[in-house]
């Protein structure tokens, strides 16, 4: 079927119709929309037009979307043909395939093909589809770089796969992932390179994108998100690999470019038709020339271009109505689309608008055990969007609700459970539904706890959710049955059930407390924020400003050196490595080890103050200097100057080690018992850069006169003649708390070891935004002491974990920024000045 064809129709196109000559309809594009339009026209009026179809591809019309199963080896080409040769013959259609139309003469009403063939028309239909977009990187023209649009592309990929080796797919959208799947089934080692952090970001949210990525990785594909292609590498004119902008190189025997499509408008444009993004058409698919119609992916209708087939069918109906002057010619009004990914074993559905917020309300359901994520978005009582992962059985139902735009308020509560539940007349009151369950109905799937057991445990005195979790383990694992257990508490205890959890949940997005979340992260080995949200059944798609920073910290603490910090989950100060001020500028505090400084540092600070016109410089309560009023654009330059004088970030902005205050100590002071200044400097070198649940302050005083105020610090050292008294849990701040004595040691080495161990215990156990003072009040000093000293190995083990984590942390964030990292955080996007001609200049 690959040779050019020129099918001669059985009927003569010049045939008479009621004595009149038939009008000549020429179709450019023998693809899905062009042929469907012809079918629709023939169904309305079989004799009105003498039809000629030009196709650039040397074959009959086939179902393009099934190229994915062909690539995957699940279908053969002959199984995906829509219109076989006989169809053209039976309908007296002249098919000119393998010959692209290259020009339209609108005055003469003819088209000219590449072969030189000229064909006159009365009506012309453009159905040229789309062209794959090729990113303009060096190497894009090498042999072995292919797109994924037609059968020839599939043939090239299959041929490459037969030789085996590695494939790189650029683009993690629908098309790219289907290509990757096919190539991987054919035995290639596949890497997907995707620019955005989320796969299929146009259809999926972060949560579903993460699940998809995890599944594809489990199948052996390598998925690189946030990866930008710099160059396609070649050897002897053939592709050999891909280099990313961050320098990584991935070897490849074939590179598939699947980064998007552009409506194929070149022909229409050169004929002078109105073309914007696509060929502009009206509701009857007529272009700016009344004799020329257009349909399919090449058109732009009411501002929209489509890349899926469903809209084409509606367009073709409207077009045929108009082209045959059918009475019912209503016209095309646009389409709502839905997406499914055709990768076997992955169920994924997305439709409509799923950007949450304002009037729009998210309903999220997650079932970690079954790998399920469902999100529906309701606005003004109507369903406006849906994302389903893992079970798409209800996709059609949601899509229908969405398109009909009916009021769904009546089934709002049950909507997320799907059609069977919502329309099955099931009691909508959750308590009533739970009351109706039999005693042996399973409540908690993770721990296999039945309703009877939970009720017995409540009757046995477990009057709160925590008590139930503690006694019979129901809802203690993934938490998805929390609602059911709470219903049982309400039903069993009646008015006695206060409904209050003993401890507050981490935030409104979850039913778990900080402690439970921390424990689950460690026990389940969770490794990423979207994974925690999925496994612990977060009720929002991407969390909130409270839980994101907390989860980021918990993961960072649990996975030193492995977890990749999520910048978007950091409060502004930690993202900008400076303290935001009320006017939006920043303050900059360089580290001064133990409060010591020297002429070089002071000179550098003085120079920065002058060079950047800083309106104020101040000695802080933490024994160092604070430079105020720096604009975010100037921060990297300020840091570069401070770095040059040997100074690093003071982390005055971080939930991290702040300062180590010292006094002069035995070096100078007449009362000094030990070298408190020296010890403070050593401790600061050991602890700087560490992330903590909250800020952490240390001080070392040379004698009990305590000039460094060590007894209101998170960790304080009071030097005495016989050694060092180590004090913990002090707080100045809002609620004053003096330290407790933790222990007394004889040497500096021991003091530092206990300091490291205590910090690590705090890092591992405290809740996010809980300083040491409230942490110790909560767990009790005895518990802290026993965690450190009961087991003689504990201090060493904790200290080792702290040092291991520090080996990844002690790396000045300012130096990286000064060298150009994350420059976009500091630069304006551009600047607008309305004069002279309202044009813009890039600020860069």
């Amino acid at each position: 079927m690959n040779a050019p064809m020129n099918l001669k129709p059985r009927m003569n196109p010049g045939d008479q119709r009621d004595g009149a000559i038939r009008e000549k309809l020429v179709v450019v594009g023998n693809g899905m929309a062009g042929c469907r339009a012809v079918e629709e026209i023939l169904a309305r009026d079989g004799v009105r037009y003498a039809i000629t179809i030009f196709g650039a591809e040397p074959r009959v019309n086939y179902n393009r979307i099934m190229l994915s199963p062909v690539l995957a080896g699940e279908k053969r080409f002959d199984e995906i043909v829509i219109n076989p040769v006989a169809w053209y013959e039976d309908n007296a259609i002249t098919l000119v395939s393998g010959d692209a139309v290259v020009a339209i003469d609108r005055a003469a009403k003819t088209v000219t093909a590449a072969s030189g063939r000229v064909e006159p028309y009365d009506r012309l239909l453009l159905a040229t589809g789309s062209d794959p977009f090729i990113i303009p990187v060096p190497g894009k023209d090498l042999a072995g770089v292919v797109t994924f649009r037609d059968l020839d592309d599939v043939d090239k990929m299959v041929a490459a796969a037969e030789k085996g080796g590695a494939a790189v797919v650029i683009g993690g959208g629908l098309l790219g992932l289907e290509a990757a799947h096919g190539l991987s089934l054919r035995g290639m080692n596949v890497t997907v390179i995707h620019l955005m952090p989320t796969l299929m970001e146009r259809q999926l949210d972060e949560a579903a994108g993460w699940l998809l990525k995890a599944e594809l990785e489990a199948r052996g594909q390598t998925i690189l998100t946030g990866a930008d292609t710099a160059e396609i590498l070649g050897a002897d004119g053939h592709v050999a690999g891909v280099r990313l902008k961050d320098g990584r190189e991935i070897p490849a025997d074939i590179v598939v470019m699947a980064v998007g499509i552009r409506p194929a408008t070149a022909l229409a444009k050169s004929a002078g038709l109105a073309v914007e993004r696509g060929i502009v058409v009206d509701d009857h698919m007529v272009t700016s020339d009344p004799a020329i119609m257009a349909v399919g992916e090449c058109v732009q209708h009411r501002g929209a271009c489509y890349g899926l087939v469903a809209p084409l069918w509606d367009m073709c109906r409207a077009l045929a109505d108009a082209a045959t002057e059918a009475d019912s010619a209503k016209g095309y009004t646009g389409s709502v689309t839905s997406t499914k990914l055709k990768v076997s074993g992955i169920d994924l559905f997305s439709a409509g608008d799923f950007s949450g917020g304002d009037g729009a309300e998210d309903i999220v359901m997650r079932d970690a055990a079954r790998g399920l994520y469902k999100r529906v978005v309701v606005k003004d009582g109507r369903l406006v969007g849906a994302v389903l992962y893992g079970d798409t059985a209800d996709g059609g139902w949601y899509f229908d609700l969405l398109k009909r735009g009916e009021d769904i308020s009546a089934i709002r509560e049950a909507l997320i459970f799907g059609q069977a539940f919502a329309s099955g007349g099931t009691q909508l009151d959750p308590n009533a539904a739970v009351a109706a369950l039999s005693d042996d109905a399973e409540i908690c799937g993770c721990n296999g706890v039945s309703k009877g057991t939970v009720v017995a445990c409540i009757n046995g005195g477990a009057a709160t959710l925590d008590a139930v979790r503690g006694t019979c383990k129901a809802s203690a694992s993934c938490g998805s049955c929390t609602g059911l257990v709470e219903s049982l508490l309400a039903l069993t205890l009646g008015d006695e059930y206060g409904g209050e959890r003993a401890e507050k949940t981490l935030c409104k997005c979850t039913s778990f407390t900080h402690g439970e979340v921390r424990r689950h992260i460690v026990e389940k080995g969770l490794r990423a924020i979207p994974q925690v949200m999925q496994e612990l059944h977060w009720s929002t798609p991407d969390g909130c400003a409270s839980c994101r920073p907390a989860l980021n910290y918990y993961l960072l603490c649990a996975l030193p050196g492995e977890y990749v910090d999520d910048q978007q989950s950091r409060f502004v100060n930690e993202r900008m490595h400076a303290n935001i001020q009320k006017d939006g500028t920043y303050s900059v505090v360089p580290r001064m080890w133990g409060g010591l400084t020297n002429p070089r540092e002071l000179r550098a600070i003085a120079d920065v103050v002058e060079k950047f016109n800083a309106p104020m410089v101040k000695v802080t309560g933490g024994q160092r200097l604070d430079i105020f009023g720096i604009k975010k654009e100037d921060l990297p330059a300020v840091w570069a100057d401070l770095n040059a004088a040997g100074m690093v970030s003071g982390h005055a902005y971080g939930k991290s080690l702040r300062t180590v205050k010292t006094c002069v100590g035995s070096e100078w002071c007449r009362f000094g018992t030990q070298d408190s200044t020296g010890l403070g400097v050593k401790i600061e070198h050991m602890t700087w850069g560490s992330w903590m649940p909250h800020k952490f302050k240390i001080a070392v005083s040379g004698c009990p006169r305590n000039c460094a105020e060590a007894t209101i610090k998170d960790f304080g050292v009071i030097c005495v003649d016989s050694g060092y008294e180590l004090m913990v849990g002090g707080n100045g701040g809002i609620k004053l708390r003096g330290t407790d004595l933790l222990c007394k040691v004889a040497t500096e080495v021991e003091a530092m070891e206990v300091c490291a161990a205590f910090i690590q215990l705090y890092r591992e156990q405290a809740y996010y935004l809980e300083r040491t003072a409230p942490w110790i009040e909560r767990v009790g000093l005895e518990a802290v002491k026993s965690a450190l000293f009961d087991d003689p190995e504990a201090v060493a083990a904790l200290a080792r974990r702290f040092h291991f984590s520090q080996s990844f942390m002690q790396d000045d964030p300012w130096a990286k920024r000064a060298a150009g990292a994350d420059a976009q955080l500091h630069q304006h996007l551009a600047e607008v000045r309305p004069f002279p001609a309202a044009q813009m200049e890039s600020a860069k």
């Binding site: 955005m196 952090p197 304002d358 798609p541 920073p549 910048q567 978007q568 009320k582 976009q824 309305p834």
Partner: protein
Amino acid sequence: MIGDWLDIGPVGQIAPGNARTLPVRRGDGTLIHEIAIFHTSDNRFHALVNRCPHKAGPLSQGIVHGSVVTCPLHSWNISLKTGEALGEGAEERGACVPIIPLKVDAGRIYLLRSAVMGGATPSARAA
């Protein structure tokens, strides 16, 4: 692009979950206002005047979640779609920041020129 919409460049300039700023100046260089353009994690774009209705905090520097930004200064939650403060507090109710109409076309971001130039359209509630 000429006409009503001002082309401010490709979508790739703003990472998801992030915002970037666009100062708008008079010919003499004085600032009319600064616009914050947000890219949410579900891949939508919104533009607001970069001034929290509470005490003028730079919203561009807040944490973005859903289509809401939490102001970096005192944690008010501001809707990226309407500019309204979402809290229930007496001060928050009715407070709102002007939004700048935005559209994305063929991978580029466009802002409504009249709103950019200072004639910011009032948000949903004020209208």
